[in-house]
């Protein structure tokens, strides 16, 4: 530890931290542009100058290590002069277009120019002009505004793992870009917009849309992948205008995947905004009462079942469960992809290591998952671990994938998995030598005929290779959507019998085997195949439009909040179910959100707490399934089109543009 005095405040900081960090520990704010705590130190903007006693010149605090007994001054005349000078240089080539700049109001340069700049410019010469670069459909560039802090270059190289951005040419002519024009091939490109301290990289869909002070900000959770990214939903006049990540070191650090960030325009298109009832083979607009009456008639005396989809909140799921129980049905299902998940124990279907736990792992085996497409933020965490520690990664799945980190391709499918269960595969040595080995099993690998066997085999690999320890649980199932874990916690695993006569689809696609003549209710926000098959359609609320509970792949229980009201007559799903129960004659016993949540905690106590805490594994008995039954077939991820993987993104124009850019062959 080193004792440092910052403006007379004595702080103790670990050896090797920078002066800037010591100043922050003392509660002093240091202006900066290039420094970012999650990126490497560049030290090129010089804004973080401080004075150190006995040093002849001001020093760049972000790149200067502390020494014991150091006396730092952050507000001396030398520092103020230095910063004013740096700011003057930065502003020489920066255009004065704040009034038309999308960064205006949330711009580091604007804020710091107010605090540290001088009142007028002394610069009379011509400013330099830089051609704008094309970086893809999501990031808009106005390169005149670039102050060359190189945060974007470091983010792309270090965090996203796609070294495609760079600083070409030199001095006055230095430019940030890809040199050879191309769209950035990363699923994390939106983060470039966040880390850019000026308006050089801004959001293309959000261009000229709004000012930050006009927006109503609501803390919520992203559900378009299973990471459970903490987000802030910015809305104005009942319309979501953008979604930004919030910092949560246990989940997403401060990053966010592009689908979660940009797909929200799908919430305004192809929405179900009123109830519909099928009469004589055609759907007709109806009132809520008519719809509920039709359901009561359609369900009367029939064998019922309920299916929930991938983007359904826990409150709606528990209300549906109770409604079905009231109607005498226990046929509940949520695994519409056919994943053979064993929900008898929670650690069979969650990411037990935790996302932050990845940073403790020293060997990783990925089975049948492409984390880069299924959970880009978790993939960035894996990359961080591999880059900092050289953690070996074994991969079973398609050959030649670019996961953004080096991985040892072990094989394509079942054959390799069986070899690992046997214990004499070369990667077994690596796993056995590790102290904290972990594996990530993709949900896609379970969605096949031998899914149960794959699950059992993966568990056996975990158990036999030291992944299941009293203080370390290295078995992880990676889900794909934010609503996939909560229904597993609520017992939506009893299955739908083939002779079901009435079916309640809550945001779910109709199962392949819906019998002819079955009465189908579809409740949800986007109508795809489910709505087309439905006899009654009930409009529901999307994730930005309700106060709801979501469970991420770790099993972490998080609350999303209402940012805008649902369109038209659509209502929060549990309220729809509550209203329907009245007409169906099995009145649900809750009238408030608190009461629903109390009921949630009653059904499964995890909903009363945080849902996830670092845990070990003491019971190594595996899930049902015979590991020997694994077929030799290759594993294939069931997310091939990252940009259009769910109903919201399929309705999104932005995501359609991304699909056209990145997957020209897949776009319709």
């Amino acid at each position: 530890m080193a004792k440092v005095t910052v403006d007379g405040i004595e702080v103790e900081v670990p050896n090797g931290v920078s002066v800037l960090q010591a100043c922050e520990a003392a509660g002093k704010e240091i202006p900066r542009f290039c420094y970012h705590e999650r990126l490497s130190v560049a030290g090129n903007c010089r804004m973080c100058l401080v004075e150190v006693e006995k040093a002849p010149k001001p020093i760049a605090s972000c790149a200067y290590p502390v020494a014991d007994g150091m006396k730092v001054f952050t507000d001396s005349p030398m520092v103020r002069n230095g910063r004013r000078g740096v700011m003057e240089f930065l502003l020489i080539n920066h255009p004065l277009d704040c009034p038309i700049c999308d960064q205006g109001g949330e711009c580091d340069l604007q804020d710091q120019a107010m605090a540290f700049g001088s009142d007028a410019s002394r610069y009379r010469e011509e400013k330099r002009a830089v051609k704008d670069k094309y970086l893809g459909p999501l990031v808009k560039t106005i390169m005149n505004r670039c102050i060359q802090c190189t945060r974007c270059v470091r983010f792309a190289t270090e965090v996203a793992g796609v070294p495609e951005l760079g600083a070409t040419n030199r001095g006055e002519n230095m430019e940030i870009g890809t040199y050879v024009e191309k769209a950035l091939t990363t699923e994390l490109s939106g983060n470039l917009i966040d880390i850019c301290p000026v308006g050089a990289l801004t959001s293309r869909p959000y261009a000229f849309v709004s000012r930050p002070w006009e927006l109503r900000k609501t803390d919520s959770v992203d559900v378009l992948d299973a990471t459970g990214t903490n987000v802030r939903v910015d809305a104005r006049a009942g319309e979501v205008l953008r979604i930004l990540p919030r910092t949560n070191d246990d989940v997403n650090e401060e990053w966010m995947a592009d689908r979660g960030r940009f797909a929200f325009d799908g919430l305004k298109r192809r929405r179900l905004d009123r109830p519909w009832v099928r009469k004589n083979g055609k759907l007709h607009p109806a009132s809520w009462t008519e719809a509920f009456t039709a359901i009561a008639a359609g369900f009367a005396g029939r064998k019922l079942g309920a299916v929930v989809g991938d983007l359904v909140d826990a409150e709606a799921a528990v209300a549906l469960r109770d409604l079905m129980a009231g109607l005498g049905s226990t046929h509940l299902e949520c695994r519409m992809d056919g994943a053979a998940i064993d929900a008898s124990r929670r650690d069979f279907y969650t990411f037990n290591t935790g996302i932050a736990g990845i940073e403790e792992a020293d060997a990783l085996l990925i089975i049948g998952s492409n984390p880069r497409l299924e959970a880009p933020v978790i993939n960035a965490r894996i990359r961080k671990r591999v880059a900092t520690s050289g953690c070996p990664v074994g991969f079973i799945g398609p050959r030649g994938l670019n996961l953004t980190y080096a991985h040892d391709w072990l094989g394509e499918g079942g054959t390799t998995l069986k070899a690992l269960v046997g214990g004499d595969h070369r990667f077994n040595e690596v796993l056995r030598a590790a102290k904290r080995p972990m594996l990530i099993l993709g949900r896609g690998a379970l969605a096949r005929a031998d899914g149960a066997a794959v699950l059992a085999a993966a568990w056996q690999v975990a158990a036999q290779n030291g992944m299941l320890q009293a203080d370390w649980h290295g078995f992880n199932l990676l889900h794909q959507f934010g609503g996939q874990v909560a229904p597993l916690d609520l017992g939506f695993t009893t299955g739908i019998p083939a002779d079901v006569q009435g079916l309640w689809l809550l945001g779910a696609e109709p199962p392949a085997m819906v019998p002819e003549g079955a009465f189908v209710v579809y409740q949800g926000h986007h109508g795809e195949a489910g709505a087309a098959r439905a006899d009654v359609i009930l409009p529901g609320a999307a994730y930005t439009e309700k106060d709801a509970t979501w469970v991420n792949t770790e099993g972490r229980v998080q609350r999303g909040r209402l940012a805008v009201y649902p369109p038209g007559e659509a209502r929060e799903d549990w309220k729809v179910l509550r209203a329907a129960s009245e007409v169906l004659g099995v009145r649900l016993p809750y009238d408030s959100l608190d009461a629903v949540r109390a009921r949630l905690a009653e059904v499964n106590p995890v909903f009363a707490g945080p849902g996830f805490a670092a845990h070990g594994c003491t019971d190594t008995a595996g899930p049902v399934g015979d590991a020997a039954g694994v077929s030799d077939a290759a594993f294939a991820s069931n997310i091939l089109n990252y940009w259009q993987a769910d109903v919201v993104s399929r309705a999104s124009a932005t995501m359609a543009e991304c699909a056209r850019t990145y997957l020209p062959q897949a776009a319709e």
Binding site: R128, A129, V130, P163, N169, E175, Y179
Partner: protein
């Protein structure tokens, strides 16, 4: 003012580039100089290899994008890292140049000794419009370079890899004409100076002690 920097798109780029035998031999020697895992250090010498190969093959010493990609692949680097290096250094021509690269030193000692005249001679005899331009016959490209480190024999005109020293207007015209005829005059001082000794011969250390 939009900077006149190349982005590699304003002129045709070759569709492919692969190292020829001579280059491959040179690369093997160069890469061996660096310890394993540090091969990226060889990026600058390899870019020279690309530039020389282009000179051999097309008569124009420049580095095309595909050439940089080939370097990146050979050294296991991301292509953008090679682009950054290549565009940073002035010595790599990012666009095609003429057969002869006339590099006029314009730094203070050369300028005081008459580099403006050398440049005028290049423009007039070589029929080049100015710095950064190529003559219509495709023979000469003129570039103003910073100090070539030959200040004692200023002004210097570097043609490709050769230094011609103690230049003035007439000697520059003669040199350019010789190049045009296909001759390659011996590099070095054009006034017969011995290396960087004083003009007209040594002035000190004339007697050898003990003789």
């Amino acid at each position: 003012m939009v900077a006149e920097m190349s982005t590699g798109t304003e002129f045709p780029q070759p569709e492919s580039f692969s190292f020829d035998e001579e280059s491959l031999k040179a690369i093997d020697t160069i890469v061996k100089r660096y310890p394993p895992g540090k091969q990226a250090s060889a990026v600058i010498p390899l870019l020279y290899v690309v530039q020389r190969q282009m000179k051999r093959q097309t008569g124009s010493a420049w580095v095309p994008n595909k050439g940089m990609d080939a370097v990146a692949e050979r050294l296991g680097m991301a292509p953008i890292r090679v682009y950054e290096v290549a565009t940073f250094y002035f010595m790599f021509n990012m666009r095609p140049i003429g057969k002869f690269h006339l590099q006029v030193c314009g730094t203070t000692p050369c300028w005081l000794r008459g580099s403006d005249e050398v440049a005028r001679a290049c423009r007039e005899a070589g029929k080049v419009g100015g710095y950064g331009q190529t003559s219509e016959d495709g023979l000469f490209t003129m570039t103003e370079v910073e100090c070539l480190g030959g200040c004692v024999n200023a002004p210097i005109l570097q043609v490709d890899d050769d230094y011609y020293e103690d230049m003035d207007y007439e000697s520059t015209v003669k040199l350019i004409e010789a190049l045009r005829r296909g001759e390659r005059p011996a590099p070095g001082s054009v006034i017969g100076r011995q290396t960087s000794a004083p003009e007209g011969g040594p002035l000190t250390l004339l007697d050898v002690p003990g003789e």
